[in-house]
Amino acid sequence: MRKVIASEFVSLDGVFEAPDQWHFPYFDEEMGEEIGRAMAASDAMLMGRVLYEEWADFWPRQDPEENLVAARMNGVRKYVVSTTLEEPLEWQNSTLIAGDVAEDISELKRQPGKDIVISGSGSLVRSLLTDRLIDELRLMIHPVVVGSGKRLFEERGERIALELVDSKTFSTGVVYLTYRPASERDDSDRKETT
């Protein structure tokens, strides 16, 4: 079955908003390789409205010949979860998920294909984690306390038990932690992946 993977840049105080303000000094080859590997293993993206609107306004304007990431971002299949956006979505290869999110995503996971990746999209990540629809949560924790901005995990959320699957340390001081939902239900899946 296809995996849904949430992959996030976070500061040490848990902020994930506006990574352009603090992330770039830590981007290097090591991190680039990890991100490249994750991209190669995926063939679709899942995002919330806020990130969709930001990216739909940015990526189509980039020159795909100069910016290889832009070609990828524009070309890849995108699923957008929103109750306020309407079809047709402007950005190419974008499909709206407006109905029963849990059911639609479970259906996507059953279809053949590679991983489905989420970045940003905090409220979507939180609700999918609570519904156990995220298979892996990957956090790149940056060694900086930014002091303001939206956090990935806001207050008044539900308690979510996780399990550490992997941890890596980059020479920039970024720590790359991979978690999955604590496996109370899915013992078969656990055996398969460990």
Partner: protein, 205 residues
């Protein structure tokens, strides 16, 4: 693994610096909550115990805020038998307690109140000969010490759980602080210990 090893070596070298260090050591959930760490119990294990024991052995004093002091003072004097040497250190070490409302004498053995200028008092403690001074819990105090630039190391023991509510270590409105990772350790229980130092302090050394 190579990165971890190099980071470990960096740490050893800087340990030779003679000034006493303020080390903030916290139990943190994945969403940054430090309040009432009773939720950490289920993740306890031998590696974590050893880590905490070594940490306390490398220190010789505690610096605490009022809330954490009151919690500790109510518990530690009564659990000395079960917790053995660790409890003996907790009960025996000098405790410096920052509070504007508590009054001397403090009930817990070897506890002294810091009532005046925190910056001055803590700086004075750092100049005295001795080992590390540990700060556990004490969220308000930690944010204050951070603003004053008095913290030499942050040791965050990150537990694999999102709590969803509770007080966080780094509150909103903390000044942007660039840190340097100086060590990582992973326990079988999925607990990760990340150690940081202020980046500018590192440069001064």
């Amino acid at each position: 693994l190579t990165a971890d090893k190099e980071l470990g070596e960096v740490q050893e070298q800087s340990d030779e610096v003679s000034m006493r260090r303020i080390v903030v050591s916290e139990f943190v959930s994945l969403d940054g909550v430090v309040e009432d760490p009773s939720w950490t119990v289920q993740f306890g294990g031998e590696e974590q115990q050893r880590f905490k024991y070594d940490e306390l052995s490398e220190a010789d004093a505690l610096l605490l805020g009022r809330v954490t002091y009151e919690g500790f003072a109510a518990a530690w004097p009564h659990i000395s038998e079960q917790a053995g040497e660790y409890a003996d250190m907790m009960n025996g070490y000098p405790k410096y307690v920052v509070s504007t409302t508590l009054e001397e004498p403090l009930g817990w053995n070897n506890s002294t109140l810091i009532k005046g200028d925190v910056a001055e008092e803590v700086s004075r403690l750092k100049e005295l000969p001795g080992k590390d001074i540990l700060v556990f819990g004490s969220g308000t105090l930690v944010n204050g010490l951070m603003r004053l630039g008095l913290i030499d190391e942050y040791r965050l023991m990150i537990f694999p759980v999102v709590l969803g509510s509770g007080r966080r270590l780094f509150g909103d409105g903390v000044e942007e602080t660039v840190l340097e990772l100086v060590g990582t350790e992973t326990f079988d229980t999925g607990v990760v210990v990340l150690s940081y130092r202020p980046a500018d302090k590192k440069a001064e050394e």
